[in-house]
Symmetry: C2
Subunit: 365 residues, 2 copies
């Protein structure tokens, strides 16, 4: 790939452009807001001059609602050898393009799964996609050369390509992203009118469950609006689970011993299924989350305490795989949970104790 055109110079478009420019590709930046394109160009993401002739790859990175129309326009005038979009939902644009009767052999839908906490070209970086999954949704009609252009782009952005069917992708992101986002909001919503004393009892559990309820609502309305079917299906299934669990809880209140036993079995089954699903969530580097052990260290929140823990772990030759700080209400003390490979846990625990740290506990996951 020698030349590319990026349509839409927001966070994603500009980050792709920066990555391509860094690898020597000539990038043309196009945005209906000329000022945005000029900012992206000033950041070193390419030129805002129109390409002379056909480019190798056109990357459509406009807002979801404009993807199909922009693709149709650039494809009709043959602007590139291959065309991709980067919208977070894939079935819709594809069906819209099909309905327009456009030849789709030169198009591949794609979805880079990067965090998108910010927006706009100023937030863009060439390494936004590094190590992240980047889904590609070719069909049987997709030209192999075009698929290879898209794969080359993913490689240049140092992302990890994952090939999926467009509708399977939409069901997958509904499952691992859109449904959890809505459920997190619904759990958090229960706190809106809660008494202050109740809120004081919040611990790390609810803090984790509700964290994503804080993320960009404007962007999420767009995402959810583009994928209502699969999300609704999952929420309905969840509502059925909730109803069953409410039934089990009511049975637990029954004086009838058989009913009570049935209720307990119902709750046990919900928890069992949850454990079975949770184990599948990949941890760091795609390994199962269950492979680490936690060494919990008490700190008094003096400046430099965290640094000293990590330096001491490093001296012991142990790599910390993940870390979490557990908080104390209204106190200056905290608990630092260090996650390490099981064989390292006893060594880490012993080394830190030796260096004067107070080790709370070692937990096997």
């Amino acid at each position: 790939m020698r030349t590319a055109a990026v349509y839409g110079t927001g966070l994603i478009g500009t980050s792709v452009a920066l990555a391509l420019v860094a690898r020597g590709v000539t990038v043309h930046l196009v945005d209906h807001d000329l000022k945005q394109a000029r900012i992206a160009a000033a950041l070193g993401a390419g030129t805002d001059a129109a390409p002379k002739g056909r480019v190798d790859l056109a990357v459509v990175a406009v807002p979801p609602a404009h993807v199909a129309a922009t693709l149709a326009e650039v494809m009709e005038r043959g602007a590139a050898r291959g065309y991709i979009d980067v919208a977070s939902v894939k079935g819709g644009p594809h069906h819209e393009l099909e309905a327009l009767g456009i030849d789709l052999t030169a198009y591949v839908g794609t979805h880079p799964m990067s965090g998108r906490e910010r927006s706009g070209p100023l937030a863009a970086t060439a390494d936004l996609f590094e190590g992240r999954p980047w889904v590609l949704t070719p069909t049987r009609d997709t030209d192999t050369e075009v698929l290879n252009l898209a794969l080359e782009l993913v490689a240049l952005c140092q992302a990890v390509p994952v090939v999926m069917d467009a509708d399977a992708h939409d069901r997958a992101v509904a499952l691992v992203s859109h449904m959890p986002r809505l459920v997190s909001s619904m759990v958090a919503a229960r706190l809106e009118d809660a008494e202050e004393a109740a809120v004081r009892l919040c611990g790390q559990g609810i803090r984790d469950v509700t964290r994503i309820a804080a993320s960009n609502p404007r962007m999420w309305i767009d995402i959810l609006s583009a994928n209502p079917g699969p999300v609704a299906e999952l929420l309905s299934a969840l509502a059925a689970d909730l109803d069953e669990t409410v039934g089990a809880l009511h049975a637990l209140q029954s004086a009838d011993e058989d009913k009570h036993r049935l209720g307990a079995a119902g709750i046990e089954e919900v928890l069992r299924r949850g454990s079975a699903g949770q184990v599948r969530v990949p941890g760091k580097h795609g390994s199962a989350s269950t492979t680490f052990e936690t060494v919990a260290v008490l700190i008094d929140d003096q400046p430099g305490q965290l640094a000293r823990i990590f330096v001491d772990a490093d001296r012991a030759g142990i790599n910390i795989e993940d870390v979490r700080i557990e908080h104390a209400t209204g106190q200056q003390a905290g608990l630092v949970q260090l996650m390490v490979w099981p064989k390292s846990a006893p060594l880490l625990s012993a080394s830190l104790r030796e260096r004067g740290w107070s080790i709370r506990e070692v937990v096997k996951h």
Copy 2:
């Protein structure tokens, strides 16, 4: 307080005993499993000899199902001046004791909100409760001297006392702990039979939402069984929210513009309520979670990288308030999110850049 008796030498009972012994209180350890009591005594948590005469405070730390019977037994023989239990649900035991016609002036229900990932005396530590909320549920009949004994115990354990009505406590823990635990399981359960390709797309969001779905199912069946009413009520309210959201998602699929608008408004409202609730979840030291800014640093997962980041932050004189490692699928690179007070964020970002770190972005919460 000079003398105490601890009934039940599991994690909580032994930890209380260790804290009391460390402060000079004479502690008698009682367990129907004599070996458990002997282990606790060997750990320095007190003596397994029976007390000679009445102790100042009896701490009942037996499994939830045995709390009322054990309390009734020790109160009937006047074993102590004051009596507390430490069960995680408070309405039930109280009502059971009332039904037994026992004089409850010398009793206070309590609930230390410590993490309980492990169990048994070997996991116990004197600092298990340090900085954690410890709920007390006195009634208007509670003897003031007894309440003060309980408050003294909480102070000796270095916990933060929170006084609440027993039923309000049970509704509060249903809200901030039991309901989120079940919902986390239900979200995770959807992954049990998911396709491998979908599971590969999991990011930090679903990882956080489902984390607590992994915790001790046996203990959770006991907890949920003791608090079915308030939990069922919350799950029903959540089911109603889910149904409404499913309706809004279906409306979004409608060709009718008015319906579509209504659907979008419905989704917007769920997200808005979620944000409003999430803001109330206390962050570190009970401060609002919204007060920190995040500086994200790219690491390549070489040993010692985390230590170097923390040392560099420390050299810049900046205290890291919270930290999170974001994971890359199948890659050896990661993103470390450092949460700091807003005034420190630009300084931290600049200092780390100067020392050669790749800063991804600074996010305001």
